[in-house]
Symmetry: C2
Subunit: 323 residues, 2 copies
Amino acid sequence: MKDMTSTLPTYEDMLAAHERIRPYIHRTPVLTSSYLNDLTGAELFFKCENFQKAGAFKVRGASNAVFGLSDEMASKGVATHSSGNHALSLSYAAGRRGIPCHVVMPRTAPQAKKDAVRGYGGIITECEPSTTSREAVFAEVEAETGAEFVHPYNDPRVIAGQGTCSKELMEQTDGLDAVIAPIGGGGMVSGTCLTLSTLAPEVEIYAAEPEQADDAYRSFKAGHIIADDAPNTIADGLKVPLKENTWHFVSNHVTDILTASEDEIVAAMKLTWQRMKIVMEASCAPPLATILKNPDVFRGKRVGVIITGGNVDLDKLPWVVGY
Amino acid sequence: MKDMTSTLPTYEDMLAAHERIRPYIHRTPVLTSSYLNDLTGAELFFKCENFQKAGAFKVRGASNAVFGLSDEMASKGVATHSSGNHALSLSYAAGRRGIPCHVVMPRTAPQAKKDAVRGYGGIITECEPSTTSREAVFAEVEAETGAEFVHPYNDPRVIAGQGTCSKELMEQTDGLDAVIAPIGGGGMVSGTCLTLSTLAPEVEIYAAEPEQADDAYRSFKAGHIIADDAPNTIADGLKVPLKENTWHFVSNHVTDILTASEDEIVAAMKLTWQRMKIVMEASCAPPLATILKNPDVFRGKRVGVIITGGNVDLDKLPWVVGY
């Protein structure tokens, strides 16, 4: 296996990614809400990746990885381990290129997620719900298929792809003072850092995280990666730890990391629906939740807010069924 | 009371409306879905008025009426009868101008709707749920306040305002073969006719209606207005009958009116959520429902689909709680 994690992506990689993936992604809209502006005292620009192909920003990085492969490499397909939006997005992108996508997923993952991956043509191999089992099963799949591993967030091709989101956001607004995105493994935040540190280095970059999975916050304060074993939060896309490439961007370019409680996350999710008619995943709600919680940080600023995905089960809205 | 219904709006009125209301509305995005394109064999461009201020296209017409008033007329406020999006939108627009908005609403209207109107500053006077009572109570309110009546859809200022939606849609796409919108009283369809009959007369205009409230369909076939007494459909914004001004546009410019069953409406609403992450009102779903039902009409065409509003109660989605 080629060690793709040894190279950091460059600004030029991000520009090349944008050209490469343009046919396979939506240029998602930027929406505003005067109600939320009044409430926060800031001017908020919501970049709506919930309307992205496959329902999340992850398709940017996945498409960049898939369409950047040589024909020879592509012929053996791609592989990853994920039970979330990266699995969906990589399956989508591989399907568009007509190559196989192997996904290792815990057998305990929700049936709906397995169905969705299969719906995009992904080939699932189940593992036990432990890191040991996942790594062993993934190694087998990789050895058998020769497929190219695309890590959900630490892969430089993925980071370069995620960086295209902030490029569009800057093109769609007349200048920003700050951008805020949720942080789990740090793929979107790293892409944001990659793009803005060259394109608009004056723009502050904030990351927002659940209190109950605040490993990035603690890493940022400690100055080295801290990985939690099994955090528990409704924002289930944000449970994963930082890795060396995302840590590089986070530690060098992020202004601050802010956290929100479960209640604050659900309240922000509900407020966004009520006022903007956008149903976001719980994992997308920490940015608005932390803006509401820290008005002094954002007041008077023009703030880009990245809404990362919309793959929520409408039959299980947390303010309806509890959480 | 000045009879505003005696004058039909012109294309220049629509252009003036767009300049007038620009500060008070969103230029809503146009979204696409390759899944729905594959499913229908058409190329669909969804104009997302569900993200409009106050949650619906109605704010276009309401703002045009409110901001077109002289200071003298405006000083006495505006008045209407509506329990739906027009009441919300007129209250919003009046609030932005700082004038009163009087709304006559049946006492049986849902509390949530009354709360929403009051939330935008509207002053509610309740009537009994009958046309006789509504007209009597409205006449009293009008006489007492001297407020300017803004009819929900037959008012030429309202029709001119609604026409700005298709103007934007044409600007946001590279040409269309057809546009389709839901039809109740015909305000949006009339505005669409007003704009396209001058701007792009080659574009076909379709209207979509629930089978269970198909008075516009029957009017169109009969060649004169047919008004139903009390139709019953989940698409509750589409129960009202055509009036003389909207009939003028519908009878002269609409290509055809298509209908959909309740089940087809709910299925289209659910499909739009699943595939586009857009929660639309049931009243917005007939266009997609009729496109799916009549593939031969739309196959191979570039079709603008107006999603008229998003004010749905997420706790009462019809595919979850029944309908």
